[in-house]
Amino acid sequence: MKTKLLLTLAATAAFTSFIGVATEQPAHARIKLATLPDKEAVVVRFDHPNVVIVEEERTLTLQKGVNNVDFSWAGTNIDKGSIIFRPVDEKSTTVVLSTSYPPGEAALTWQINATEARSEKFRLSYLMANIQRETDYRAVVSADEKTCTFRHYFKIRNWSGGQFDEADFITRDGKTFEKGLANGEAKRVLVNRWDNVKLVKEYNYDPQRQSEGKILTDYVLKNAKDHGLGAIPLEYGKVRIYQQDSAGTTAFTGEDWGRFTPIGDDMRLNIGIAQDIKVEFKKMVNDIENRRGNVYDTNEVDEYEIKNFKDGEAEVIFTLRVDGEWEMQNSSSGYTSFERIDNETIKFKVKVPGKGEPVKLKFHYKRLNNW
């Protein structure tokens, strides 16, 4: 008597798994008797940025000698070449002898040799396409805008054709949650919560980010332990930002895409435009000098007049860019500090008093050796 095991991954409710014990009739005969091994301990792992690996365990009742195990996955998005089937017990004497693939079917047959008749747990691993994952965050900022609570959600959407009645889902940073997930279903799960996360509010002038010259209001979080984060790299995802109000509730104040933020790096989130701070740009000097043949230098002065209509002082960060070879001149003024970030980029910090009193940032530079 040969044992015939048929494992079928359900594509819809109409498909069910079954195990078959065949009598000594030829294997291709149409009359079969089958028993059904249930899926046990299903794990869906998101280690890889693009690919999902699924592992499931099944207890097989094996006869002594060679057993045939059929596995089919019609209607699901399993990567056939990735399928691995092995006993859970690493010291097992049961061996998979061969794998055969029938024509035109999402199916295979393993020949398994068991040294004795017994029940044995096997683990089936495969890569599955069309299980999408997405990260998003929710920040609730304190009334003084110095701290926030930060919640990390993991959303999965199952278009794989497979059905997960009960599975452990493991995120890239090792968080595990147990859920059922039907084909076509999506779930969003809170995986990390951080409280008292420090944040810095910034007013930014950056023509590359805001071409109309308006001031952007940013919150900057540092992904570091002493700032209340720093446990894991923060994956790219949408951050929805709320602020506590005087009524004890929260108001939605904006949202932004948080870029992937390694530990130690900053996550910058723009919540909108600061309407009470205005900047007017004027080019005051634009001269050509030091001509040598077709080569020349330029002498340029850019002026930014800033007005802050809030009651209190504000600091505005100017991010300005000049292409090519250039040098800042000593007559630049109106800033508290500056930093040349790279060859093209310079940042100025400017203190702006409240109540509309104007201040000027003067940026004097020469572009050298143009032609």
Binding site: K2, K4, P26, A27, H28, R45, D47, H48, P49, V51, V52, I53, E55, G65, V66, N67, D70, G81, S82, I84, V88, E90, V95, V96, L97, S98, T99, S100, Y101, P102, P103, G104, T109, Q111, N113, R123, S125, L127, R172, P233, E235, F260, P262, I263, G264, D265, R292, G293, N294, V295, G324, E325, R340, I341, D342, N343, E344, L368, N369, W371
Partner: protein, 420 residues
């Protein structure tokens, strides 16, 4: 044989093309497949016992609906060769998938004969699964070979030999076969699911070198029905050392890429034979002998001592920032054209800064290949090597949770300043 195609028939006492014909159907005794993976070619050798009457015997061999090359079919007597002789071979006009040998026997005699031919439609491929240990320092590498049969013929209890290497053929076998149709076996499931004839242990696959090729011989016999594929384990090697190198190589990869590398040599517990081309999939072992997916690469033929690099994509646990800190133009050279002076040559001097951060809990190796154009001079306080005329390489290790900064300067001579 139920699906005896090619059919071998001994015609008895009837004119060659009479309407009524009495034939016997001698069965195959043995069949051996030698399958090449570089071209669509398989050499089939089959043996059958035949009985010949004294005088001339006509032997008909036909191969309808298969992909056999008619020009390759050969007949050879293995026993009593001195008493049997092939007088001629006819290819009937009404069938391009048949031939008739006229065989002369000195006396009534039985003989074991071999019929050999080339067929297309049978191929084999290799694939590899590597399971990395938790520390990613080593892996268990399992190699598989898979035979695919789309030849139109079922080969039952065949000896299977696989040829690793690239051979030259001047005409495609599929074309010589005359484009015979495939796909005529509705009951091809038979045999593959029948375990009765299987052994009870994994089959050995014996490897031997032959000229420029390697031949893998699968132990025992295999039945491979038409349109089926069958995968067998070729070898399992635990403890293969693996290196993880974060690599920047703009000519090959997009961005900083995690490469897992190993060599097909003795130091890596491999190197016994070349590894045929195939997909290498790497997994990582998690607690409880569970697996995570790392990455895959389709490799070319891996010669002995050659290296394999598996692309595991970007890694969130390391970061790489590359900025140009300054740009200056120097050594401006002017020339005159008539009464006009113009710039003829200049140098650009650029200072770049690299910041590598390793958020992993173990040291990480980095290989940064930087590509420049033109006549340039590269200087850096941290040692680099010249890979080719335009590529400089930094090879550095960054400690666990550590950071490394590299500054380098590139002077590029342009216009009349350029020497290259």
């Amino acid at each position: 044989m139920r699906w005896l195609i090619p059919a071998l028939m001994i015609a008895l006492a009837a004119p060659a093309f009479a309407k009524e014909e009495l034939v016997t159907l001698p069965t195959r005794n043995t069949v051996q497949l030698t399958i090449y993976n570089s071209v669509d070619l398989t050499l089939v050798r089959e043996t059958r016992n035949l009985t010949f009457k004294k005088g001339n015997n006509r032997l008909q061999f036909s191969w309808a609906n298969t992909l056999i090359d008619p020009t390759s079919v050969e007949f050879r007597a293995l026993t009593n060769p001195d008493k049997i002789e092939v007088l001629d071979t006819s290819y009937p006009a009404q069938s391009n998938q048949m031939l008739i040998w006229t065989i002369s026997a000195e006396e009534a005699v039985s003989a074991n004969v071999e019929i050999s031919y080339f067929t297309s439609g049978i191929s084999w491929s290799a694939e590899y699964h590597g399971v990395l240990a938790a520390d990613e320092g080593s892996m268990t590498l399992t190699a598989y070979v898979t035979v695919h049969n789309r030849s139109g013929e079922e080969y039952e209890d065949a000896s299977v030999r696989l040829v690793v290497g690239t051979i030259n053929i001047v005409e495609e076998i599929a074309r010589l076969a005359g484009g015979a149709s495939q796909g005529q076996r509705e009951e091809a499931y038979r045999g593959m699911r029948d375990a009765a004839k299987s052994g009870d242990s994994k089959k050995d696959i014996v490897k031997e070198g032959l000229s420029e090729y390697y031949i893998y011989t699968v132990e025992g016999k295999e039945t491979i029905p038409d349109k089926w594929s069958k995968r067998l384990e070729s070898f399992v090697q635990p403890g293969v050392p693996v290196r993880t190198v974060y690599t920047l190589d703009p000519m090959k990869y997009s961005g900083l890429t995690r490469l897992l590398t190993f060599k097909n040599d003795e130091a890596h517990k491999l190197g016994k034979e070349p590894l045929p081309a195939g997909i290498v999939r790497l997994y990582k072992q998690h607690a409880g002998n569970r697996l995570g997916y790392v990455g895959a690469v389709a490799t070319e033929y891996i010669a002995k001592k050659d290296e394999v690099k598996v692309n595991a994509g970007a890694d969130l646990e390391v970061s790489f920032k590359h900025t140009r800190r300054s740009l200056k133009k120097e050594n401006l050279v002017f020339q005159w054209s008539g009464n006009r002076q113009y710039l003829a040559g200049w140098d650009t001097v650029e200072t770049f800064h690299i910041e590598l951060k390793n958020f992993r809990s173990r040291n990480s190796e980095f290989e940064l290949n930087l590509v420049f154009n033109g006549d340039f001079t590269f200087t850096s306080e941290i040692a680099s090597t010249k890979v080719d005329y335009r590529t400089q390489r930094f090879t550095q290790t960054v400690n666990a949770n550590g950071k490394l900064e590299i500054t380098y300067v590139v002077r590029t001579r342009n216009g009349s300043n350029a020497k290259k």
